[in-house]
Amino acid sequence: MPKRGNAPIQGELLQGTLDLLILKTLALGPAHGHTIAYAIEHRSEDVLQVEHGSLYPALHRIEDRGWISSFWGTSENNRRARYYRLTPEGRKQLTEQTNRWDEIVKAINRVLRPA
């Protein structure tokens, strides 16, 4: 049965937006991959569906850049899981990229809705 409201957006997130969303989620505290995916879906009110398959390559990529770091911990239901946390460099990136995102949104809006 189709959901009410906006149809979920899947697999067509703008390049780089998934990275931004992951950084933002981790700004609230360390989390493992499963939590990150559900947090994004939850906070977007199920509009943004994170493809689990592309989540892990993204995490790997961001970690490679040194914006997040990882460690093994125990999940809420007592399972070993790999946790990610934001590094100082990642925090800086989050601010920068959020600002940039705002600029892009403003710019696109200026095009779509001329005053």
Binding site: Y56, S75, R79
Partner: protein, 896 residues
């Protein structure tokens, strides 16, 4: 992507797998919590996450460089296949390539050292040699040394008048004697003009080098500079060598400097030991000095071009200043010689690679390089054939992989990887082999009196040469099978049963062509080998006109005995007489120019009042020379002590002389004169004896007219006594007898020995080198080609099992089966031999100047080569034929 992560990518992969498992576990827990059954929960979680292997692969690829990764995989896979599945194949392949590459690299290394590498001095490209322009110059006079290019009077004028060079020097390479008497201790010397070291910009390692201040005409006690090697050898590298006194030819020289280890002079293949100023030539040679001799050729000159001057400009300049120089330095010549002397013009040639008389080996080396290239080509063809066979055997495997979606390029690359491994391993082993082989070869070029130092250490040129060889061979034998193997449509290969429909005529045709090429090329090499082996045989067994065995040559130098010129002949005669009375000496005679040593004299004759244009060989001998040489006179009488300076001049001539000058009539009693320069008396010689023809200058020369005159009449002066001694005594005993006698006569007499046989062997070094190496390469090529033919025939028999089984079931007997296989082999062999014969005749022309008493297209050689190669090849293909005939028809058919 960090290198660390690249190196640890498999550990990383494990981490990811665990992480994804954890993700699934959490998702399943939550699904169960939502009320799903455990199996539904697992399925849903898996669906949601997707293909974990793909995710891991995606991450894995991020941590790696795709090309390098697959390349490493391919190489590892290839290495495993080679070593585990086919170690025998790998060993044969690598060994045959190593021999091919090693032989090529050796030849190249020698050529590089001899011809290509520049002198180890500053800016060698600016160095040019000054010499008389043109080839086959008709120069007259006395020649000494390996580079007798200029006379001292000419050199002094060049030095004073040239404007092309910032500086210029002359040098000669005499052999000095370190000993005080008895057995000689030769060292390689240099006479250098003042600017030798400054022009080359060579600075001393210790002390100082020679300068123009040291080289003043009439210098009384000139200094000496020694080489690093001599310093190490003679003085153990002690600094106290500086200031010590060195005795060269009995004269003292003070050591003032030592050159750096890398500097060997300007002559490639030689290392100088001691360098002294050119003015010291007069001290060594005394009255026989060449410094003022207009016809004493012993020097060579090299200059450093001024900035902005080219070799052409320098040549033109030297040409322009030539005429007055030659006019001023005219010696007493015969009119024709005077004319050609006045026509001489100087020119310049590049000297950056130094000078070398070892360059007589250049042509043989290029020829050997071509030979080794052929060997490598045959080895490549053989490997290509083997790889093709392996590819055919793997056809179905490859077809399956293609059908499963492997890309053609990847499979071709995988097959090529094996070839790369073989080529690299082969080239590596070959490079090591070349280091050893080239040292052995250089060592074998040296003879007792001719030390050779050729620096054959590998440099970047050799490295690139080997790398290029490896790449080229790899492409040659690897690419074709790799392309072929993947060119078949997978469906066809899968469908094809054990009979192999893909084994089309065309593909099999390629393998046949490869075998034909191998046979043809190896025939060329076998023909070459036979030609050189027969040349050497012809030369060693050639009738020299005398008996070579048990013949000893003794050279006694009286220079330091202080005997005046007028009494030297008497001293010689005295020593000769006493030697003849020693026990065990059968016969002893004096001779001015010992045959086949390369030293000779010639004169122009006037016969019956007519001046003959050709030069005629002359030699001065004592009595009993012909008995000593075991070459009895054909007619007339030997010289005797009644032939003196005041008696009638007499001569003994050879058969060739009689034929050329007297139409073969008996020459006894006939007369001739020597065509001396105007103003010199021309005595009339009467021919008193007729001798057999004999080799003189070089054993390779045909018999030429030769005149013997008595050493007791009109012999040009000289302090050296050369003796031929026939003795049955052991060599050591004979030499010690002579040395002891010489010491009795005068303690400062220096004696040198060699046997006529070793003399001959040394003079045939080039031929021996060619015969040994080409023989080895020819045998190697024949072996590889035979293995190739054997492989193809075995393969053909295996492929046609069915057909042969049917034939036998239908009543063909064993003989017919053998005949069928042998006919096939015969066709391949025949085609190869035919192509090879034509190629041999063409190729042998390139070697014609290196042959002796053989034509390049010698039918006997061609026939022998074809027959022996054919015989070996037929034996090799008889084995598979025999195997075919032993097939059990029922078994062969059941295999279907």
């Amino acid at each position: 992507m960090s290198i660390k992560r690249f190196l640890h990518r498999s550990r990383w992969d494990d981490e990811r797998a665990r992480e994804l498992d954890a993700h699934l576990a959490i998702e399943i827990d939550e699904n169960i919590a939502r009320g799903m059954s455990p199996s539904d929960a697992r399925d849903a979680a898996r669906r949601k996450l997707g293909n974990t292997t793909l995710i891991r692969e995606e991450i894995y690829r991020m941590s790696t460089i795709g090309f390098v990764e697959t390349l490493i995989q391919d190489l590892r896979y290839g290495g495993r296949r080679l070593l585990r599945l086919n170690p025998g194949f790998a060993a044969v392949a690598i060994l045959s390539l190593a021999l091919g590459v090693g032989a090529n690299a050796t030849m190249f290394q020698l050529l590089n050292a001899l011809r290509i590498r520049t002198l180890p001095v500053a800016r060698p490209e600016q160095l040019v040699e000054v010499r008389i322009a043109g080839d086959n110059l008709n120069r007259s006079g006395s020649f000494e040394g390996r580079h007798a290019v200029l006379t001292n009077p000419l050199w002094e004028r060049i030095r004073d008048r040239q404007e092309a060079f910032s500086s210029v020097f002359a040098w000669a390479s005499p052999v000095f004697d370190l000993s005080a008497g008895g057995e000689s201790r030769p060292v390689d010397g240099l006479w250098v003009s003042g600017d030798f070291f400054t022009t080359l910009e060579v600075s001393p390692m210790l002390g100082r080098v020679l300068t123009s201040a040291d080289d003043r005409r009439g210098c009384a006690s000139p200094p000496a500079v020694i080489s690093y090697g001599f310093w190490q050898r003679e003085y153990g590298g002690s600094a106290s060598a500086l200031g010590r006194t060195l005795t060269l030819d009995g004269n003292p020289f003070e050591i003032v400097g030592i050159t750096a280890p890398g500097f060997f002079g300007v002559e490639i293949g030689r290392h100088f030991d001691v360098a002294v100023p050119l003015c010291a030539e007069q001290i060594s040679r005394g009255l026989h000095s060449y410094l003022d001799a207009n016809d004493g050729w012993f020097l060579a000159a090299i200059g450093r071009l001024k900035p902005g001057w080219t070799i052409e400009k320098a040549s033109a300049h030297l040409r322009a200043i030539s005429p007055p120089m030659f006019k001023e330095t005219l010696a007493k010549y015969r009119p024709e010689d005077e004319k050609s002397y006045l026509d001489f013009r100087l020119g310049a040639i590049p000297a950056g690679t130094g000078v070398s008389n070892l360059r007589e080996y250049e042509r043989p080396l290029w020829l050997l390089l071509a030979t080794t290239a052929l060997v490598l080509l045959i080895a490549c063809a053989n490997l290509a054939n083997l790889m093709l066979a392996r590819a055919t055997a793997r056809e179905r495997e490859i077809a399956v992989r293609l059908a499963l979606g492997a890309s053609r390029i990847r499979i071709a690359r995988q097959m090529l990887a094996e070839s790369v491994l073989i080529a690299v391993a082969g080239a590596g082993v070959g490079a090591v082999l070349a280091q050893w082989l080239s040292r052995v070869l250089v060592a074998s070029l040296a003879t007792q009196n001719d030390r050779v130092f050729l620096e054959v250490a590998g440099d970047w040129r050799v490295f690139w040469f080997i790398a290029m060889l490896a790449a080229a061979t790899c492409l040659l034998f690897g690419l074709l099978p790799a392309i072929r193997a993947t060119a078949t449509a997978p469906g066809d290969a899968m469908k094809a049963g054990s009979r192999g429909t893909t084994d089309t005529r065309q593909r099999f045709g390629l393998r046949r062509i490869l075998v034909v090429v191998q046979v043809a090329l190896s025939l060329v090499l076998v023909v070459g080998a036979l030609l050189f082996v027969r040349t050497l045989r012809n030369l060693t067994t050639v009738d020299a006109g005398f008996t070579k065995s048990d013949l000893l040559v003794a050279v006694l130098n009286f220079r330091r005995a202080g005997i005046p010129d007028v009494r030297i002949a008497a001293a010689h005669a005295n020593l000769l007489e006493r030697l003849r009375h020693q026990p065990g000496m059968e016969d002893t005679a004096k001779v001015r120019n010992v045959p086949i040593t390369g030293s000779f004299s010639n004169r122009e004759l006037v016969i019956g009042g007519v001046t003959r244009p050709e030069s005629v060989n002359f030699n001065w001998i004592s009595d009993r020379y012909f008995r000593t040489m075991s070459a009895p006179l054909l007619a007339g009488r030997d010289f005797s002590d009644r032939d003196t300076a005041t008696s009638q001049p007499v001569a003994i001539v050879t058969e060739s002389f009689a034929r050329v000058f007297f139409d073969g009539q008996n020459p006894l009693g006939k007369t001739f004169q020597i065509d001396e320069a105007p103003g010199t008396p021309r005595p009339v010689y009467e021919i008193v004896g007729l001798a057999r023809d004999a080799k003189y200058n070089d054993v390779r020369d045909p018999f030429e007219p030769l005149v013997y005159v008595p050493a007791t009449q009109n012999e040009p002066p000289g302090s050296t006594l050369r003796l031929v001694v026939r003795s049955r005594l052991p060599l050591a005993q004979a030499t010690s007898t002579i040395t002891a006698l010489a010491r009795e006569v005068h303690p400062s007499i220096v004696v040198e020995f060699r046997t006529m046989q070793s003399q001959l062997n040394d003079s045939l070094m080039r031929e021996r080198l060619m015969a040994t190496l080409s023989g080895f390469f020819g045998a190697l090529a024949a072996l590889i080609a035979t293995v190739g033919l054997y492989g193809v025939m075995s393969y053909m028999v295996a492929r046609r099992r069915n057909e042969i089984g049917i034939r036998m079931a239908l009543g063909a007997d064993r003989r017919e089966v053998v005949g069928m296989v042998m006919r096939e082999a015969g066709r391949l062999l025949g085609a190869g031999v035919l192509v090879g014969l034509v190629a041999s005749i063409v190729a042998a022309r390139a070697a014609s100047t290196l042959l002796f008493d053989l034509s390049p297209g010698d039918p006997l050689t061609l026939l022998t080569a074809a027959a022996s190669l054919g015989a070996v090849a037929i034996v090799a293909s008889y084995l598979p034929a025999l195997r075919a005939s032993r097939l059990e028809p029922t078994e062969a058919l059941r295999d279907e």
